[in-house]
């Protein structure tokens, strides 16, 4: 007689904890063929509002960590994810309806994305920043400063993106010290919600990453117009009403990254898209 399994309940990840939606709502998550997988918590605008509060509280301490420290945290995420690869392969196989080997490729790419960004945390400032040779007796230095709280929309493609897309969006944003509220893949959210467990056990301070599941179009307008959100990453918005969101974001002059096809590629530009350049002057005189 086959052993009876213990199915998992999939909840949101906000402020380092795993609450259900304050609305009490859930939604059915199925395989591409329609078989039932789970009832995932369905994030409301109030959940998103709470997530922004958590992300804001976590921002200054996270940005205040040394870059080395942040790099260590991102590398730890890679280590923990590597150790749990099998779980994610199985979840992706079921959620996306792909083969095990395709799922494994996606998991490995996700891990490598975290490693790539981990290794850039204490370096990108050496490329994006520099001394400036101004005329006059002045010291002048430009350095990148994280922009603050970023709301991100993970890629929503049919296959190959539920974990990798999330990682490709999260890691560059976190590298410089920003905190994030990310809206997971709408119909394939399980990897993202399980990934929250990886974050919770990887020395990531509470509130640095907040993961919401559900229909992004319900929540995004509230995030796009939210005055305490500094930037939007609309990576997964290609098929959705992203132009309207960008217009709403213009009200508070948010920095907006437009959608990309598929999964964004790791690059310096993905990191510097979410930093501000600060330039400091100081007089120089011997007397």
């Amino acid at each position: 007689m086959a052993r009876l399994s213990v199915p998992k309940t999939y909840k949101l990840f906000i402020g380092g904890k795993f609450p259900r939606s304050e609305s009490g709502y859930t939604y059915e998550v199925t395989t591409p063929k329609g078989a039932f997988l789970a009832n995932a918590s369905k994030a409301s605008r109030k959940d998103a509002r709470d997530a922004v509060v958590s992300a804001r509280a976590a921002f200054l301490p996270f940005a205040g960590l040394s870059a080395y420290n942040r790099g260590q945290i991102l590398y730890r995420i890679a280590e923990v994810l590597e150790g749990r690869a099998d779980q994610f392969v199985e979840e992706i196989r079921q959620s996306e309806g792909v083969s095990s080997s395709a799922a494994l490729t996606q998991v490995n790419s996700a891990i490598d994305t975290w490693v790539w960004c981990a290794g850039f945390a204490d370096k990108y400032a050496q490329i994006a920043g520099n001394g400036n040779p101004v005329s006059g007796p002045y010291f002048n230095l430009s350095t990148p400063d994280p922009t603050g709280v970023v709301v991100a929309l993970a890629p929503q493609g049919a296959a190959g993106e539920s974990l990798l897309g999330l990682s490709a969006v999260l890691a560059p944003i976190m590298t410089s010290g920003n905190t994030v509220v990310v809206l997971a893949h709408h119909t394939q959210p399980l990897s993202a919600l399980s990934f929250a467990e990886v974050l919770a056990t990887s020395d990531v301070p509470s509130g640095v990453v907040n993961i919401l599941a559900g229909d992004p179009t319900a929540v995004m307008p509230w995030m796009a117009s939210h005055a305490d959100v500094n930037a939007l990453d609309l990576a997964g918005g290609m098929e959705l009403d992203w132009v309207q969101w960008q217009q709403m974001a213009a009200e508070t002059l948010k920095r907006v990254q437009p959608p990309v096809k598929g999964v964004p590629v790791s690059s310096l530009e993905r990191i510097t898209a979410f930093v501000e350049t600060k330039t400091v002057w100081h007089t120089k005189a011997l007397g």
């Binding site: 870059a67 080395y68 790099g71 260590q72 590398y75 490598d112 490693v115 790539w116 981990a118 290794g119 850039f120 945390a121 204490d122 370096k123 050496q126 490329i127 007796p137 010291f139 310096l268 100081h282 007089t283 120089k284 005189a285 011997l286 007397g287």
Partner: protein, 485 residues
């Protein structure tokens, strides 16, 4: 008993699992050396720690060939992200074995366990973590879109920060795609040999790192070997000179990190208590065995007496003794030869007319020890103001104006480091502008970080280690063909 006579707080050596003898690490394995083995001893007790192989010219040749094979067949074909993962593994292993490495380093080098535990070994791990992240990002190094590795790097390191100097050499070399043959100093081979074990635990492809132990002759053979593309040397200026001469006219790239006679400049408005600490850490940290030591104190004349009095009072709580005691501040001098060198130059200070003050530390019977010493009434022409002593000996000179401080600080063929102590930022920045030194510390001293480039002007050598700049010594721009030798 007074409270300040702290009870012994010894770090145990039981964590060590040393072999009675070590061979050479070539091609991923320990192999016998062809020369006669020699002992490495503890400078605090003169007791033998273990026996170490001596590499002959033939052994050097074997090591270089092993590095070449690994480069041609494996390492140069590997992606940057895979090279990076090996370096991340090594960094993690160093973190995991950090206490063991700290104890081994203290035992072999003589420096206090508090330094190896809190400074040396954490920096070693950090160095590997830092360069691991560069391996797949070389297009951002500022050397063109596709910079290329050089091939086989010959690396010779000194005894003052054995494992840290190894990290400074191996981490960037491997990140850039080179393979290495490294020779540790003959008095401090132990942690390099433990590092070889770590390479095995990381499953680093055989031959990527080769460690050959031996003395000066081994080093000379390595530098002269026709099969290398690069020499990286840290050590004394005279040896650096010889290397530069040997390699003149060849295609072998050279970087040198040599001696120094760093000036630590204290202005009248300095935060005085922190400046005193800065003087102490500038010259007495690591028993003064630091190329970038603040060995010349340039103090503004109007605060000279106050500074000297405060310094002498501060030195009275420095503890010299068993390096394995967690309360020891000043450990043993690394070797009898070094002790003799320090003694000879220091004695010249008195002969030339400077005033000598030595702190009253009890000197243990066995081992090599030199109590912290301060010379006042020092003039710029004195040997103790010009020659590198490489020991816990501070020479105090004065200046009247910022211009004079700069002139005296720059008046040396060296140019490695300098310190500036003032609360006035505009002055600090203007003085830093004019000091001819590769590393300038303001309101701090002897701070190292893998993200921060380190290296000297003039006879302190050329090339930088650390930071993005540290990659330049191990890469050539895109259009250069890696030397086939």
């Amino acid at each position: 008993m007074t409270f300040l006579d702290y009870a012994p707080a010894l770090e145990s050596t039981s964590i060590l699992n040393l072999k009675p003898s070590y061979g050479l690490f070539i091609g991923g394995e320990f192999v016998d050396g062809s020369g006669s083995a020699f002992a490495t001893i503890s400078p605090a007790t003169e007791a033998t720690i273990t026996q170490v192989a001596s590499a002959t010219e033939g052994d050097v040749d074997r090591a270089v060939r092993s590095a070449r094979t690994a480069y041609d067949k494996t390492w140069s074909k590997m992606s940057g992200s895979e090279r990076g993962k090996y370096l991340f593994r090594i960094a993690r292993l160093i973190q995991e074995r950090s206490r063991e490495l700290a104890v081994a380093e203290t035992l072999d080098n003589g420096k206090p366990i508090r330094e190896t535990r809190d400074v040396d070994i954490p920096l070693v791990a950090a160095w590997f973590f830092y360069y691991a992240g560069w391996a797949d990002k070389l297009e951002y190094a500022g050397l063109g879109p596709k910079p290329r590795s050089l091939g086989v790097a010959a690396q010779i390191i000194p005894w003052n920060f054995p494992l840290l100097m190894l990290a400074w050499k191996i981490a960037p070399a491997l990140a850039a795609g080179n393979t290495v043959v490294l020779k540790p100093a003959e008095t401090t081979p132990l942690t390099a040999l433990l590092f070889a074990e770590i390479c095995q635990q990381a499953q680093l492809p055989p031959g990527v790192v080769n460690i050959i132990t031996g003395a000066g002759a081994t080093g000379a053979a390595l530098v002269a070997h026709p099969g290398i593309n690069k020499v990286a040397f840290t050590g004394s200026t005279p040896v650096g000179r010889t290397i530069a001469q040997t390699l003149a006219g060849t295609e072998t790239k050279v970087t040198l990190e040599l001696g120094g006679k760093g000036a630590n400049i204290i202005f009248e408005d300095a935060a005085i208590d922190q400046a005193i600490e800065g003087i102490v850490s500038g010259i007495f940290f690591n028993q003064g065995h630091v190329c970038c030591a603040g060995s010349r104190l340039l103090v503004q004349e109007n605060i000279h007496d106050d500074v000297v009095a405060r310094l002498q009072k501060r030195l009275s709580t420095l503890r010299m003794g068993d390096p394995l005691d967690k309360n020891t501040d000043i450990g043993a001098v690394n070797s009898r030869a070094q002790l003799e060198r320090i003694t000879e130059i220091t004695d010249s200070g008195e002969v030339e007319g400077a005033t000598r003050w030595t702190s009253s530390c009890a000197i243990p019977e066995k081992g090599f020890w030199f109590a912290p010493t301060v010379f006042t009434d020092v003039h710029t022409s004195h040997r103790i103001a010009r020659d590198e002593i490489f020991g816990p000996v501070l020479s105090v000179l004065t200046f009247r104006t910022p211009e004079e401080a700069i002139a005296k600080a720059n008046n040396t063929p060296y140019g490695l480091s300098a310190g500036i102590w003032t609360e006035k930022a505009s002055r600090m920045l203007a003085v830093a502008d004019k000091l001819r030194a590769g590393v300038i510390w303001a309101n701090t001293f002897n701070k190292f970080d893998p993200a921060s480039p380190f290296g000297g002007y003039q006879e302190s050598g050329y090339g930088r280690e650390g930071g993005r700049h540290g990659l330049a010594g191990y890469l050539m721009p895109s259009d250069w063909k890696a030397g086939a030798k």
